[in-house]
């Protein structure tokens, strides 16, 4: 009966929509014109200075209205001294709108500066820069500079780590499980590290209005689910795609690590861009040592297939090269929001890889994860990462 079917479908649609109609009515009642139900309290304005660039004879300040109401920016100051400034596109900022404040100022290299902005109700918001350095311009020189740093931090260490492959290939099954779980330990540490980085960046630079903790949690779970789904499809179709299961797992690990390395690149680029130069040298050395373990993480599952040098190199590049892109983004267009997002995506990706490796160990081994080799490998992986992380 065609018509019956149609009416029943209409009923389903209607029953799905009716609650929405009531939601809209409710919102209209609470927030609509003439409603003073929620007219309580005083909304406090809030500005977040997201970025400060020092260019020739000028200071460029990127500011976002992170408060509950629209605001007007009325005044700029440098070190708490009132300075004339230009503001683009204009001084009225709607919620979450950004503006660029240009302060003509003969600043001195390597000196600390506090930049303040005052709203129309006289509230001042400030941000301090530890050492002023000329903002990086995206010219060829710096693009190349970040490419070289990214190569040192990302690609080369991962490639060095991959050199463990022949060694892992020759060892017994127990020892192999040890190295697989060692990899898992390494990755778990990286995942936790990514989450920590995300929290650090958000607490330092991100306005509370972004609900950073929940943003991190949501992004992490979405990233985990998305990649988990993708990897299940990938390993499921491994045969038809003419890649072996070890390669599929290696690829997922490489993608997860790649996302993490993008975050690391962001951190390095931002550190250079924000003027903490000595800090960034430590970051580079630390990341380089740290990241050789990532090569090991990719090499371990790959050691169970045929030796495929070409594929190995590709995986190394997938895992390592995002550090270069991260460096570009971090150095030229740093925003704390994107940094938090990338660290969270990276963490989700890594946790997803951990789940896949654990499944792999279970399938490979005797369906248990409590053998001495697995437990000790896991623990030693964490310890190695902690030891190398102290260098950062």
């Amino acid at each position: 009966m065609e018509t019956n079917k149609k009416t029943s479908r209409g009923k389903i649609i209607a029953s799905g929509i009716i609650p929405f109609v009531f939601i809209i009515l409710m919102m209209a009642y609470i927030f609509g014109p003439g409603s003073d139900l929620l007219d309580l309290g005083i909304p406090l304005p809030e500005l977040t200075i997201e970025n400060i660039d020092f260019v020739k004879s000028e200071i460029h300040v990127t500011v976002r209205n992170t408060g509950p109401t629209s605001v007007q920016i009325s005044m700029a100051d440098v070190n708490d001294r009132i300075q004339p400034a230009a503001i683009e596109p204009d001084k009225f900022l709607e919620r979450y709108e950004t503006a660029l404040v240009i302060i003509p100022f003969e600043w001195n290299e390597a000196e600390p500066y506090t930049i303040g902005l005052t709203t129309d109700d006289g509230v001042r918001f400030e941000r301090q820069i530890d050492a002023a350095v000329t903002a990086l311009q995206p010219n060829l020189e710096f693009v190349a500079f970040f490419a070289i740093i990214g190569t040192y931090v990302g690609i080369i260490p991962v490639m060095i780590g991959l050199l463990w492959l022949p060694f892992i290939k020759k060892i017994s099954k127990n020892k192999y499980h040890f190295f697989l779980s060692l990899t898992t330990g390494l990755l778990l540490f990286l995942g936790i590290d990514s989450v920590k980085e995300a929290f650090d960046v958000s607490s330092e630079n991100l306005s509370s209005s972004f609900n950073a903790e929940l943003l991190i949690a949501t992004t992490l779970v979405l990233s985990f689910l998305g990649l988990y789904y993708a990897s299940e499809k990938l390993t499921g179709k491994a045969d038809s795609l003419k890649i072996s299961k070890p390669v599929a797992i290696g690829l997922m690990i490489a993608i997860g690590i790649g996302l993490h390395n993008f975050g690391e690149g962001l951190a390095i680029g931002a550190a250079i861009g924000l003027g903490s130069i000595a800090f960034s040298t430590f970051l580079i050395i630390g990341f380089a040592l740290h990241n050789t373990t990532e090569g090991l993480a990719i090499a371990t599952p790959m050691s169970r297939g045929k030796l495929m040098v070409g594929k190995l190199i590709i995986l190394g590049i997938i895992a390592g090269s995002p550090a270069i892109f991260g460096g570009w983004v971090g150095g030229f267009a740093y925003s704390p929001f994107s940094a938090v997002i990338f660290f969270s995506i990276g963490a989700g990706a890594i946790f997803q890889v951990i789940v896949i490796i654990l499944k792999w160990i279970r399938e490979e081994g005797e369906k248990n994860l409590s053998s001495a080799s697995v437990v000790s490998g896991f623990a030693i992986g964490m310890l190695i990462m902690y030891a190398t992380s102290i260098l950062i």
Binding site: D80, A85, E88, I102, P104, G122
Partner: protein
């Protein structure tokens, strides 16, 4: 995977948008008060450059003296009646684009400059139209019950008449004395009370400067400083004076939070009479330091025309607005006319 992709696209848009937001239409060029040139497609935020709706006119306040409604008593004493109304709900643009809840005597912060001659009977008919309690406490000599400390005048139309003989000779502040005192003062409930000597002073171009500050974000530090409320005002609108004219400034420091304030004059020195109580100057200087409610009279003349700066030599204050200019005009042809 799709959600992830969307997320990445969304993030990149947020990330990149600030980079492209400045590729706007046409560029305008501005020269700021510090002499720097800004090219922008946007707006200028400069306390000097921006036109403000002047709720409070420092030019008008500068040379305005309230002598009251004058009558003579049976004993021949001059009686001066003043009506002062306190309010605490006024929002005033205290710097271009910055709005602050000022508490006012007769609608302005500072309140009117009350002027009398030594020995006059001063009668202040005080009406409190505010929502809080306020009083008027004069510095000077008067009976205890006229001190404006214990005689709290309630808001919403409370009344009190302060009555005392003007004295001693000099320049004194008056202010609200309701607790918490600092709050009532920093919101603007203060003004100047001048007592002239019976024999008068030498005619001069007279002006009042109240050195004040505003803590607009309530962190117990001033965000703005000024001579007569508006930051940078006299730098933008130089005070016009004539060569060889005697200039007399009644200066009162009402800045709270900062222990001291000071007054430095360029290209000249002034005779300084602390509190104005002595008719002989105590110092000949270009720099005096003033603590809270410390005040005095300055007298000087310029002999050469031009622009002369005056400002706090506590430079932090001058860079937050306590700075101004005298524009000295050649007096060779114009008549001396003292106005008051």
């Amino acid at each position: 995977m799709i959600s992830l992709l969307l997320l990445v696209i969304g993030i990149s848009t947020i990330m990149i948008s600030p980079i492209f937001s400045d590729t706007q239409s046409e560029q305008k060029t501005f020269v700021t008060h510090s002499g720097s040139i800004v090219r922008t497609s946007g707006e200028i935020i400069d306390p000097l450059y921006t036109v403000s709706t002047v709720d409070f006119d420092p030019d008008e306040f500068l040379r305005n003296f309230e002598y009251g409604v004058i009558s003579i008593s049976e004993t021949g004493q001059t009686i001066r009646d003043y009506t002062i109304i306190a309010e605490d709900d006024k929002i005033q643009e205290i710097s271009p684009g910055v709005f602050y809840n000022v508490w006012t005597f007769n609608g302005t912060a500072p309140g009117p400059t009350i002027r009398a001659t030594e020995g006059d009977l001063v009668r202040i008919h005080f009406i409190n139209n505010g929502s809080k309690s306020h009083t008027m406490h004069f510095h000077g000599i008067h009976p205890a019950e006229m001190d404006g400390v214990f005689e709290i005048v309630g808001g919403g139309g409370g009344k009190f008449t302060y009555e005392f003989e003007a004295g001693p000779v000099g320049v004194h502040p008056y202010h609200c004395h309701v607790m918490p005192l600092e709050e009532h003062i920093v919101h603007g409930l203060y003004g100047v009370f001048i007592v002239d000597p019976k024999e008068g002073r030498v005619p001069a171009d007279e002006m009042v400067m109240v050195l004040n500050g505003f803590d607009t974000d309530f962190d117990a530090e001033n965000n703005f400083y000024a001579a007569n409320t508006m930051p940078f005002y006299y730098q933008h609108h130089p005070i016009q004076i004539n060569t060889d004219d005697l200039i007399r400034i009644y200066v009162v420091n009402m800045v709270e939070f900062d222990p001291i304030n000071n007054f430095h004059l360029h290209g000249n020195l002034y005779q300084y009479y602390p509190t104005g109580t002595d008719l002989m100057p105590s110092f000949y200087t270009d720099m005096i330091t003033l603590s809270q409610t410390e005040r005095g009279i300055m007298e000087f003349q310029y002999h050469l025309p031009g622009k002369y700066l005056f400002h706090a030599h506590k430079v932090e204050f001058s860079e937050k607005g306590w700075v101004g200019l005298f524009l000295v005009k050649d007096n060779s042809e114009s008549e001396v006319n003292y106005g008051n």
